[in-house]
């Protein structure tokens, strides 16, 4: 067996404080912060390529953000190296970070989310199965059929064309976020795609309200839940297997922001984003927003489709030991996504010119069903915080943009930390908490590293 390489990250993962010592010769005192007698400070600074002005505040074992995340302009990988994510190369899409090619999953780096409305080319991609075969789809998308059945008086199969003609359309800026967004922040690793914060986006979606269609179908008093189905093929290629089928409580289905959408940013929804027609269930796990929508099954009980049981899209009722196997009976469905903020400018890894005395930064924040009350920014590892200016959302469930101007005392290495607080008073924690086997709800303070040239 080939000897496994031990990179810097692995060292940090194994034992952050020991890695501090090994990699940088760093020693921390009992406070676990700062650099004992300056040991290691110079070498860590040298590795980053700058002095670390707030080094006395830097927690022990904290991988400098500059080393912890990839930058947009990566150094060339060793020849033949096949480790880790690649960049997505796809017509009509920006160079997103590829998390996997089967299923096709790609996340948006924070600096590509520097818009109030995420452009389609920069929108993240999450598939659970294979894309439906475009050649087997109706050539006219208006012929696409959607079935509404179950606990309704008038079950129907309606074409997309009829849906567009019969129901009022609305265009809303709605955030869509993968249920597993932030999973990579869990310690130890939670199972699944290792998203940073890039499994989210806010596009303008045009569609009819699911609630209007359900009302027209006549909801029975027994209607309590939905079950969603799409045309994607299970990864095995086996047509008898359902790729994913999740559902929601009727109240969310009837929310006027929950759409059967057929346009994304004013154009037909691209196939990779679920076109010609998909659900948009803003603020809840993205898996509810069934792509290539074929059926909404109204249920008389909690839906039991693929992705509804076990540890899928569930967080613990009683906190569990991180890394433990867990008990399925202790899990409750994740509904609203938690509060999150990202710094979209400057980019992670940006070099700012010599003489920079303040950082004018901007970012986005969102909070599932809630709105953002405030965003706080720190450039000294959380010792002091500056309130950002936060814009109101364009409509409920839209990204909220924020700006802040933070003075910097000198040249050197800085980490910009952003922490949002939502309208219910919940804030982003320092570390991803409430560990669960499949890693939902990971929303720690986000960190971006910049360098002010000396």
């Amino acid at each position: 067996m080939a000897k496994r390489e031990r990179g810097m990250h692995e060292l940090y993962a194994d034992d952050p404080e020991r890695a501090d010592a090994l990699v940088f010769g760093r020693r921390t005192g009992r406070s676990r912060r700062g650099f004992l007698k300056g040991a290691g400070l110079a070498s860590m600074g040298a590795a980053i390529g700058a002095a670390i002005p707030f080094s006395e505040n830097m927690p022990a074992g904290l991988v400098p953000a500059a080393l912890a995340q990839a930058t947009t302009a990566p150094p060339a990988a060793p020849a033949g190296g096949d480790k880790g994510p690649k960049l997505l190369k796809m017509d009509g899409k920006a160079d997103l970070v590829l998390l996997g090619d089967k299923p096709l999953v790609a996340e948006t780096p924070a600096e590509m989310m520097d818009d109030e409305v995420t452009p389609t080319e920069k929108f993240f991609i999450r598939n659970n199965g294979l894309l439906p075969d475009a050649s087997k789809m109706p050539s006219d998308p208006r012929m696409w059929k959607i079935k509404i059945d179950g606990e309704v008086d008038k079950p129907m199969e309606i074409s997309l064309g009829d849906l567009m003609a019969r129901y009022e359309a609305s265009s809303l800026k709605l955030q869509l976020e993968c249920g597993g967004n932030g999973r990579s922040f869990f310690t130890p690793e939670a199972r699944g795609n290792q998203w940073t914060n890039g499994g989210a986006g806010c596009a303008e979606w045009t569609g009819v309200r699911l609630g209007d269609v359900l009302k027209a179908a006549g909801l029975k008093s027994t209607a309590v839940y939905t079950g969603h189905f799409g045309a994607d093929v299970h990864l095995s290629g086996d047509a008898s297997k359902v790729t994913i089928s999740r559902g929601m409580r009727m109240a969310k289905a009837m929310d006027p922001h929950t759409l059967i959408a057929f346009r994304m940013n004013g154009k037909e929804i691209p196939l990779v984003h679920g076109g010609p027609v998909r659900l948009i269930v803003p603020g809840w796990a993205g898996s509810l927003s069934a792509k290539w929508l074929t059926r909404v099954w109204v249920r008389d009980k909690e839906h039991d489709g693929q992705g509804m049981g076990g540890f899928s899209y569930r967080t613990p009722k009683m906190p569990m030991i991180p890394g433990d196997k867990g008990d399925e009976k202790n899990m409750a469905i994740l509904e609203s996504m938690p509060v999150r903020s990202i710094v979209t400018f400057p980019a992670h890894g940006a070099k700012l010119p010599k003489g920079t005395t303040k950082i004018d930064l901007r970012g986005s924040a969102w909070a599932g069903d809630n709105t953002i009350q405030s965003v706080d920014i720190s450039i000294d590892y959380g010792v002091t915080w500056t309130k950002a200016e936060v814009k109101a959302p364009a409509n409920k469930f839209a990204f909220q943009r924020y700006t802040a101007s933070v003075p910097v005392p000198s040249a050197g290495y800085y980490e910009i930390w952003s922490k949002a607080t939502d309208s219910s008073g919940k804030t982003q924690p320092f570390q991803a908490g409430n560990w669960n086997p499949q890693g939902y709800g990971g929303n720690p303070i986000s960190r971006v590293a910049v360098l002010i040239e000396a």
Partner: protein
């Protein structure tokens, strides 16, 4: 100051090499995504206990046995897991043997994966646990409540 710079330059060079290596593993050079032409869906061989010895024809990813680290169980693991999904998903995980075993069960229960006999299952779960153990350990120590 000068002496410090000389000493740190050496350490920095070492650190930089490690950094390059790791950063490279985050974002290797962009590769063209090639989607193979759709082939007919495989017939339901799903409940077969025997481990597959090749990938289905329409696998739609570029991975090969060599995509996985060398070791006992490499081929068996690759052909069972990569029949459905790419190896990037496997390699992104870090789990204890117990959690790999529950992941194995999850694939059987939720995704209709073949249910091989115990020896084959142990071979694969052992391989996964050996090559993809937990790597993130938080603040420098193991959780005092974890049994394994």
């Amino acid at each position: 100051m000068k002496l410090t710079q000389v000493i740190t330059a050496g350490i920095a060079a070492l650190a930089a090499i490690m950094l390059l290596d790791r950063a490279g593993s985050f974002r290797p050079p962009a590769e063209k995504l090639v989607t193979t032409k759709p082939a007919p869906a495989p017939t339901a061989a799903a409940r077969n206990k025997a481990l597959p010895k090749a990938l289905p024809a329409d696998v739609k990813h570029q991975d090969t046995v060599e995509s996985m680290p060398q070791g006992k169980g490499q081929e068996e693991t690759f052909y069972l897991c990569a029949a459905c999904h790419g190896t990037a998903l496997i390699k992104a995980q870090g789990m204890t043997r117990e959690r790999w075993d529950s992941t194995f069960q999850y694939m059987i229960d939720r995704h209709g994966m073949a249910d091989p006999d115990k020896a084959d299952r142990d071979l694969i779960v052992d391989y996964l646990a050996e090559h993809f153990p937990p790597r993130r350990r938080g603040r420098g120590q193991d959780n005092p409540f974890l049994k394994n």
